[in-house]
Assembly symmetry: C2
Homo-oligomer: 203 residues x 2
Amino acid sequence: MARSRNTEQKIFDAATELFLEKGVDRTSVREIAAKAGINLALMNYYFRSKENLFSAIFSSLVKKNSEELIHILDSDLKLEEKIRQYVNVYIDMLSENPLLVSFVMAILHRSRERITEMKAVSSLYATEKFTQQVLEEGKKGNIRRTDPSQLFVDMLSLIAFPFAIKMLIRDKNNFTDKEFREFIQERKKRIPEMLIDSLRLKS
Amino acid sequence: MARSRNTEQKIFDAATELFLEKGVDRTSVREIAAKAGINLALMNYYFRSKENLFSAIFSSLVKKNSEELIHILDSDLKLEEKIRQYVNVYIDMLSENPLLVSFVMAILHRSRERITEMKAVSSLYATEKFTQQVLEEGKKGNIRRTDPSQLFVDMLSLIAFPFAIKMLIRDKNNFTDKEFREFIQERKKRIPEMLIDSLRLKS
DNA sequence: AAATTGTTTAAAACTACGTTTAAAACAAAA
DNA sequence: TTTTGTTTTAAACGTAGTTTTAAACAATTT
């Protein structure tokens, strides 16, 4: 008899929501079981431990949310357009799941020393193709010579960080949720402009 | 008889180190007591609870590290020079305590809903003087008209985020600790250039 | 010197959590 | 009907955060 995908999924979904909302360490397995409407022992039947369940969820979240981004970085678009698309898609994705950034960053801190082991994390960073493209356009003189790492870190920072300090921004500007979303939407124009400006050749 | 400041400080220091290193929720009070070389009950004698101790540490850290920054924002420097100084001082500060960003962001997530209550957090954001200055320079036509909030978020993001993803950057570029520090130092030039560029009037 | 006051220790208790186990009940498939 | 996979109930284990109690200790005050 096939094991009920339904139950495993219910645990997975309940845990995902709680982990994002409260953080892994502030979520108890009893809480997950309650939210999933299942028995505590079933947690151990499907996932051997909380840490196991967390790993599965983390990998799944990162994979689900990075595939499209990697695809853009690896595409044949010219650099300017690539940056525009990347920023747009990334911001849309984070807008739909605003807790993702905090979650991932908490994990980066939690697992600081064993990051190399976490394969999923790898896909959060620039691809080889992107790096090469920036170097080549620099050599050709199409853009200013730029360290691809610096450029990519700039881009990531400008996209992701505001979500991590969402509450600070909301609070200080007295933003409603809607106003915060508009603030973020504004950045879809602003960020590519800044980045592309920084790449332009100066007279 | 005055209570021994020494013991209270030992608890405070041990807890600070552990909280930054492992995160609040992964640090036990028994661990803190052990590291401080004191009895478990003394934790309760000086700070009523772990959460209390954490609050004290958080406030102290934020206050200690934000005073100089606020002073710069509130100074009478012209905007360009103000940005340069802010970026420089901030990066130097975070370089000396690279775990600060992760720590503060973990707290921002942990205390998402009760952020308004945390007075310390307030000082992490732009001041009224800075906001006014950006608006006025825009009106005068000295710089492009700019949303001060967006500008400040850009600045914060470019400064702080790289520290939060330090391990990712190190790993992906095969940086040693020294090389990462150089990577960050490079940003002291790069970030003000970008920001000031984005403020320049276009022909 | 004795009493007072503030500090520290040792020991234990309470509740909650992550984990694991045991035994039984249940349901679909062979 | 037996087998196999799923689910429940119940309990146990060690550890954690917290709190309490009682005693010991040290400096100050009387």
